[in-house]
């Protein structure tokens, strides 16, 4: 599902009930984003019973509100929602609010979604990442003009 308007994003977040919503923010032409999209598409059917996915294009004007709110920068970021609650995940990186970068394997992604689902069903708002640190993509923060 590709979303370009703020209203669409709103409705998707509101209407996904009892399922994890995987919202990918990125540019469809970016290499890392393509990798990520490939994995997402391969697993969309497999996790369909407890997760649903949507892709948001950060270049569109409408969704800049969200881009600013979630502090999304160049690389593709994936944000998880459950019943309109923003789910955070501690994967050892600096930013717990979103997942930056791609996944190395399809199973990794499914594990992450399952961890989020389990935590959410228990009522948690933040979960720990089940992946070992080697498979978590790390990026260096370079501050511009600081």
């Amino acid at each position: 599902m590709r979303l370009t308007k703020k209203k669409e994003v709103d409705s998707v977040i509101r209407d996904t009930i009892d399922k994890v919503l995987v919202l990918r923010f990125g540019k469809a032409s970016d290499l890392v984003c393509l990798q990520l999209d490939d994995i997402l598409e391969k697993s969309v059917r497999e996790v369909s019973k407890f997760a649903s996915m949507a892709l948001v294009d950060i270049e569109s004007e409408d969704v800049q509100v969200y881009v600013k709110y979630f502090d999304i920068t160049l690389l593709s970021s994936t944000i998880f929602f459950f019943n309109a609650h923003h789910m955070k995940m501690d994967s050892g990186t600096a930013d717990h609010t979103k997942w930056i970068g791609a996944f190395q394997r399809k199973q990794d992604f499914i594990d992450v979604v399952e961890a989020i689902y389990r935590g959410a069903m228990k009522g948690k708002l933040i979960v720990t990442c089940p992946l070992p640190p080697e498979r978590i993509p790390r990026f260096q923060l370079i501050f511009k003009d600081v």
Binding site: R45, E46, V47, S48, K49, F50, I110, E114, Y117, R118, M121
Partner: protein
């Protein structure tokens, strides 16, 4: 226009005894196994093995009294296996020829194959009906049960009569099936008589066909006798496996498996285990649960280092038992052995410890030695 098969068939004809078999001399040049040529479809009755076996069977059936030449165990078992194999071969041959007949006769009478599924009955009915268009003129008494006869006569078909050549082929094929069936009955009779000599009680108990199969799979009477009961059960299991591998069934199983793999993943923790409550269940749980003693061992007095049976640093601590608590402690045997071993090996350590500070205890050691 004789084809080569005809020539071979003729030569086997000459070897035959009193068996009647189908010798349809087809003018067809088609030698590949198609449903035009009966000879390519039904080869069994021309094979030497079949003819030899049938000869043996015939001979034995004629001089019924003389069974003493089956003195050798191996020979009997071998004969049983051969008869088994032969009857299986005849069965598959009947099926093949039945298909042949159906492929021709369905142009004439399409519904007959579903009304009369059994191959031998079908062949007999086909032979009786022939090319007859008016089914009421055909007398099927004795061939089929009366309700089947009524169903057959009552059915109106859209078929058209067969051309003369096809009709002849079909009738010949029917004769073939009937003779195969006769042969099979003879083989089974023969088998029964052998079994009556080899294992009469077994044959009476389970029937001659089953008894023959048991003996064949087990590998002879002595082998069957030696098997424990559980193994006997397994003898039939092999057949089941083979039956499962029949192509249509196998294919269905594979498709079902693939479907299962392609299903989306199940939701986790959606199926809650049924945890039961009640006095009985909780008593059961307590038998394997934490005992009172163990609970006391797990608790530690605040502010005091834990006592243990070896030393404060080694061994398993007592917790609230023992000196800190009020309970008398009886050490288990393995611990007592360790104490003996330990005091022997590390007795000097005690002396050192009271003065020096170690990593685990404070420099002031509160032990019995200090009188606490």
């Amino acid at each position: 226009m004789d084809n080569t098969e005809d020539i071979i068939g003729d030569s086997f004809l000459a070897d035959l005894d009193d068996l009647s078999f189908c010798d349809s001399k087809e003018e067809d040049m088609n030698v590949s196994v198609n449903y035009d040529d009966l000879e390519s479809v039904s080869k069994l009755q021309k094979t030497q093995g079949y003819l030899d076996m049938m000869k043996k069977v015939e001979d034995k059936l004629e001089n019924k009294g003389n069974m003493s030449d089956l003195g050798d165990d191996n020979l009997e078992y071998k004969l049983i296996v051969e008869c088994n194999a032969l009857s299986a071969d005849i069965d598959s041959e009947i099926v093949t020829v039945h298909n042949f007949i159906r492929s021709h006769y369905r142009h004439k009478f399409t519904e007959l194959e579903s009304l009369v599924p059994h191959p031998v009955d079908y062949a007999q009915v086909v032979k009786k009906i022939g090319n007859e268009t008016d089914l009421t003129l055909v007398d099927l008494q004795g061939l089929l049960p009366s309700d089947s006869i009524m169903a057959v006569i009552a059915s109106t078909t859209s078929g058209k009569p067969l051309p003369e050549e096809n009709l002849k082929k079909t009738i010949d094929a029917c004769d073939c099936i009937l003779s195969l069936d006769l042969g099979k009955n003879k083989v089974l009779e023969f088998l029964e008589s052998i079994l009556g000599y080899v294992a009469p009680n077994l044959a009476v108990l389970v029937g001659s066909a089953v008894a023959a199969k048991l003996l064949g799979t087990a590998g002879g009477l002595p082998a069957l006798v030696k098997m424990p009961a559980c193994k006997v059960q397994l003898l039939g299991a092999e057949e089941k496996i083979l039956a499962g591998l029949s192509s249509a069934h196998f294919r269905k199983q594979i498709l079902k498996k693939i479907e299962k793999w392609q299903e989306p993943l199940p939701v986790r923790d959606a199926d809650h285990k049924k945890k039961r409550g009640g006095g009985r269940i909780s008593k059961k749980k307590h038998r394997y649960g934490v005992t009172n003693t163990r609970e006391l061992v797990n608790q530690i007095q605040f502010g005091l280092p834990e006592e243990s049976f070896l030393d404060d640093r080694f061994g398993e601590g007592y917790g609230m038992l023992g000196p800190s608590g009020s309970e008398e402690v009886r050490l288990p045997i393995r611990w007592r052995r360790l104490v003996a071993h330990f005091t022997k090996k590390f007795k000097d350590m005690h002396v050192v410890r009271s003065g020096a500070s170690t990593g685990f205890t404070s420099c002031q050691a509160f032990t019995h030695a200090q009188g606490i």
